[in-house]
Each structure stands twice: as C-alpha cells, then as structure tokens.
C-alpha cells in the first residue's frame, strides 16, 4: 500500500490474477466476482468444486481460484452430480448459460433437480448464444432479433422463452429458487445474498438450489452496456420477474 493511500476495496483473493475475456459490461464478470466473494466470506475455498459449461464462461476456471471441471455442452448438471455424489461433504456448483442449461442440457437440469441433487445451479440467462455470435436461445424474448431470428423471435415457429425458475421450483426436491440480476448495485448485492444463501442451504443438505441471473449481452444484443440495462428493465424483467420462487420452509 502506497503511503497516503487507504485500502477501501479489493477483489476477493479467491479470484485469480487473470485478465477476463468478457466483453465490457457483461454480467459474467460481476457474477464471478460475487460468487468468489461469497466463497471467501464463507471460507470454503478448499471445500468447493465448480463445473463450468460450454458458452462464454467456458474459461471460468481461469478466473475462479477453486477446483473446477469443464463440462461438455449442456452436461454440467450431470458432471456436478458425479462430483457431489462422490463428495457429499463438499460444496459443488454448476455455472451455466441459457443454451447450456435450458436447451441442450435441459434433460440433465430437470433430472438433477428432480433427484434433488444437493448442488447449486448458477444460471446465467442472457437470452442469447453469446459465444457463437448471437444466435437465438431458448430464453430469447418474443420479437427479439438475433442472427437466427433476424425478424424477431416468432413464437409460432420457436415457442415462447423458457422460464426455468418457474419450471424447477415445482419440484419438491428443489430447496431454493431465486431470480436475481446485476443491473444495479442494489440488485448485485441481492444477487450476492442469494448466492450465499444457496451455498448455505447446500451445506445444510436441503436439496437442489437454483439461482438464475437475469443477465445481459451487449455484444450479442448489439447495444451499449448502458442500453442493455435499459432492455433488461423494460423487456426482460416483465417476462422474467426477479424474486424468490421457492425457499426452505423454516426461513
């Protein structure tokens, strides 16, 4: 620390010294930081094992300083199941995007939830395939333009966007479901609290925990980071409302 300076903020020690590849304004970076702050606060760096997906966050293991496995597209829930079943005393999470969790991997998602696999899903829903260049996702909004829905998503052809929180909260075996966002500092703090609660419930062995981050994709949405926050508020939140969908009874 330089003389005359006072430390008022630093990134968690559980984030690695590695420059992130995420686009400016993307919530992946924010969510990584929030998660690793929680890991630091709970003191579980040596007890947590993560699974990253195929998608923009495929390199999450480069940033999170915890043991991790990189899964095939859509299979993070199955990989997390394998890890958690062998290490029930550890904390396990899957970190997945909407294409990964809600399209190609929806079978693994649904069955892991129905079995009440005691790990935490961190589900980044930005309504688009970011890594492959902005194609339509299962969560792309009605009328939203993407490279594969250039005239806007047509529900007659593509159905309506999947509401994953609403789906998984129906399982008895799922303990905790909350949809959060990082579009404002207040919401980011709420998101962090939700992640913390999810890990804590997992440590209590309560069943599957599912945190959806209603996220953005300035690059894929072809807008500025600021405009992406507006879009979230005006278009995404009305369809994907934030809030707790399910929580353990005693709390």
């Amino acid at each position: 620390m330089k003389e005359g300076y006072k430390l008022i903020y630093q990134k968690p020690k559980t984030l690695r010294e590695k420059r992130m590849h995420y686009c400016p304004g993307c919530f992946h970076a924010t969510t990584h930081k929030l998660m690793m702050e929680v890991v630091e606060e709970l003191g579980i760096q040596e007890k947590i094992i993560g699974v990253c997906p195929v998608g923009c966050s495929v390199f999450a293991y480069d940033y999170m300083d915890v043991d991790m496995q990189e899964a095939a597209h859509g299979r993070a829930a199955a990989v997390a199941t394998g890890i958690k079943r062998m290490h029930p005393d550890k904390i396990v999470f899957s970190y997945q995007g909407d294409g990964d969790l809600a399209a190609i991997g929806i079978a693994e998602t649904i069955h892991a939830c129905n079995r009440g696999e005691n790990f935490t899903f961190i589900f980044i829903n930005n309504g688009i395939y970011g890594m492959t260049g902005g194609q339509m996702a299962p969560t792309t909004l009605e009328g939203q333009k993407t490279t594969t829905s250039p005239y806007g998503r047509d529900p007659k052809k593509a159905g309506l966007p999947l509401k994953m929180c609403e789906i998984v909260s129906q399982f008895d075996s799922v303990a905790y479901v909350e949809r959060v966002s990082c579009n404002t500092p207040a919401n980011a703090r709420k998101a962090k609290r939700a992640i913390k609660k999810a890990f804590e419930y997992q440590m209590q062995g309560l069943g599957s925990t599912f945190i959806e981050v209603a996220s953005n994709c300035p690059s894929g949405w072809k807008c500025t980071p600021e405009e992406s926050l507006e879009w979230l508020k005006e278009k995404a939140f009305p369809y994907f409302p934030l809030g707790v969908f399910k929580k353990p009874e005693e709390v």
Partner: protein
C-alpha cells in the same frame, strides 16, 4: 485364493467391479447388459459404492466424468446404441485424462439392431469412437472368467495411464453362465493429486478441461496424449496363441469368435490341416508387431480373420501383415454366431484356393 462360483457374465463383471473397489457406478438400462446395474442395485446395501441410474447414457457418461475427475474409481456399462450416445463424453474424458472403466456388451447393429451378440463395434471401440485423436485401452474378454479379470486389469490400466479403459464384450458372454474364480476384494486407495477434490492450501487449484483454444496449445496437448498412447502400445499389448508354432494357416480372432475358432483349430488339426489361432486380448493396443513376426515365418501360408461383423479387425491384421502374406476374412453379421464347422469350412475353402 478367491471364491469359485457359477455366474452370468454380466453379474460376474458387476461382482468383480465391487471387489476391485468400485466407488461409483452411473448407467442406463439396455439389453443385453442390464444385469450389471441390477446386480449392483441388489448388492448396494452391503457396500459403500454410489449407484445412480442416470436419465440417459449421455448423462451417465458425464456423471462418470465428474466422479472420475473428482478422484473416484468409477464405471459404466452399456450396449451398442448406448455406447454410441456416450462417445462425446468419452472424447472429453480422453482429453481431460480421467481414469474410468466402460464395458460395451455389444449387440448387432446398425441402428436399434438386435439384442443378439455381435462384434460390430470394433471400429468404434479401437479407433477412438468420438471426435478427435484418441484411443481407449480396449480389452476383449472371451469368457466369464475374463469378464472378471479384465475389470481388475481395466481399472488398473486406467489409473496407471490416466486413461479411459473398456471391455469390448458381447451379448453372449454377458448372458452366458460359467464357472468363475472371483479374486479377493481389494481396498482401493486412490492416489490422484490431479483430482478436483477441493483446492489444497498453498497449492494451485486443480482443473480438468479439454479446451485448448490456441492451436499451439492444442497441438501440445495432442503430442502429450500421443506420447502416452505410444507408451501404452509399447507396454500393454496382450494376446494369446493356440497351436501357432507350426501352423501354416493363422486364424486371427478376438472375443467370442476366438472361442469358437479355437474349436475350429482342433477340428482342422484332426482333418490334417495345420491351423493355429492368434487371439488379440488387447484390441487396442493391437498386437501388430507379434502378427508381423508370425507373418515373417516361412511356413505360414495365409491369415484369416474370423469376426462377428462385416470385417473390421481384418483391416488391422492387414496393416500388421503388411502384404507379406494373404489376409482373408470370414464373418457373420447381425447377431448370428458362426459355428466351429462353418469357420472350418471357410478356412478349408481358402486353403484349397
């Protein structure tokens, strides 16, 4: 040592896995191998392994990836259509170098095919099967006893080389009952400092991936994998010879068809024809050098590959013989098992021509 029992091939395989220290089994039912998961389900309360019936073979192989990556001794078993579904996961497992054991109790294909025994997954098993350059260590049992022995060996080789290993068996060996000697159970203590079991204090985190986006790094990873495969080829080739010393005709056959071919060798010898059997036990690594040695013998007139498929291993035999002697093929497809007499007739026909 060990216990002698009369057992079905699939059940013997399951019992052997338990005795070899199985810690996790993830699988999906499919004929003709469902007895494996059923046996493990029945025995589960007596042991400490994790047993999970997955929602699909796709999920099962990825559970294996997770559990094996987290350091456990893990296995899955399936039959041909299910093994096809697992190929993507196996490619990831091969690149991330996760030791685990597969068994494919092969049935006739293509497509949904038949539930009768076949050897038509030879290419898929020995050439990689999924995308990218890789091999599994592939053992081809031809008896219920070897269903047991190869489970022990497969687990051991998987750990030794940080590689997926597999049993390439078939519906007949899986379903038939034979006397089997079961080895004593071992207490498995994994020593896997690379496994994702939680970051160790003062050490770098462990991560398992098959992603190397810079081509230079991806090539480097491939060079590393190829060096490992070469080491396996140098050290782990296994085969069996039967009356090959003075043989003029060499039958090459693996798994179930090698058992039948053995009988054909005896019948041929009775009829005055000097036939011998060369049986690869590891079909990858393939015993190519040994076959080349035999091909160089003066008295050997020709090779004939006997398989329950349209002619798959015969390509490896031809590569090994490298034009030194003629290489023929005889096989049956679609779940038909050839008789010893039928094989003898095929050998005699080539012998006359």
């Amino acid at each position: 040592m060990g216990e002698i029992k009369l057992m079905k091939g699939n059940e013997a395989l399951a019992e052997a896995a338990i005795r070899a220290g199985l810690q996790g089994y993830f699988g999906y039912p499919i004929t003709p191998q469902s007895e494996v998961v059923e046996y493990l389900a029945r025995e589960e309360p007596k042991h400490n392994y994790v047993l999970l019936q997955a929602e699909s073979e796709v999920a099962a192989v990825n559970m294996l990836y997770g559990a094996g990556g987290a350091g456990a001794r893990v296995m899955t078993t399936t039959s041909s259509p299910g093994f096809s579904l697992m190929q993507e996961g196996i490619s990831y497992i091969a690149c991330a170098q996760i030791p685990c054991l597969f068994a494919n109790i092969v049935r006739g294909g293509p497509g949904l095919g038949t539930i009768q025994p076949s050897q038509s997954d030879y290419f898929q098993a020995t050439k990689g099967g999924g995308h990218g350059d890789y091999h599994l260590i592939v053992l081809a049992p031809n008896s219920v006893q070897e269903m047991v022995d190869h489970v022990y060996l497969g687990f051991e080789l998987a750990d030794k080389y940080r590689s997926p290993a597999m049993l390439l068996s078939d519906g007949a060996i899986g379903q038939m009952m034979e006397k089997v000697q079961l080895p004593d159970p071992i207490e498995y203590k994994p020593d896997k400092p690379w496994a994702t079991t939680g970051k160790k204090p003062g050490q770098e985190r462990n991560y398992l991936t098959s992603l190397y986006i810079q081509p230079e790094e991806m090539e480097e990873k491939n060079i590393e994998l190829q060096a490992k495969f070469k080491k396996i080829e140098e050290n782990e080739v296994r085969f069996e010879e039967y009356k090959t010393d003075d043989a003029k005709i060499i039958i090459v056959s693996f798994g179930l068809s090698s058992r039948i071919s053995k009988k054909s060798v005896d019948m041929a010898r009775e009829a005055g024809l000097k036939v011998g059997l060369f049986r690869p036990i590891t079909v990858w690594p393939f015993p190519a050098n040994k076959i080349a040695d035999i091909a160089a013998r003066k008295q050997v007139n020709f090779f004939i590959s006997i398989e329950m498929n349209a002619g798959q291993m015969v390509e490896d035999v031809k590569l090994a013989v490298n034009g030194k002697k003629p290489v023929y093929f005889y096989g049956r497809m679609g779940g038909i098992i050839p008789t010893p007499k039928e094989i003898l007739t095929a050998v005699q026909a080539r012998s006359r021509s």
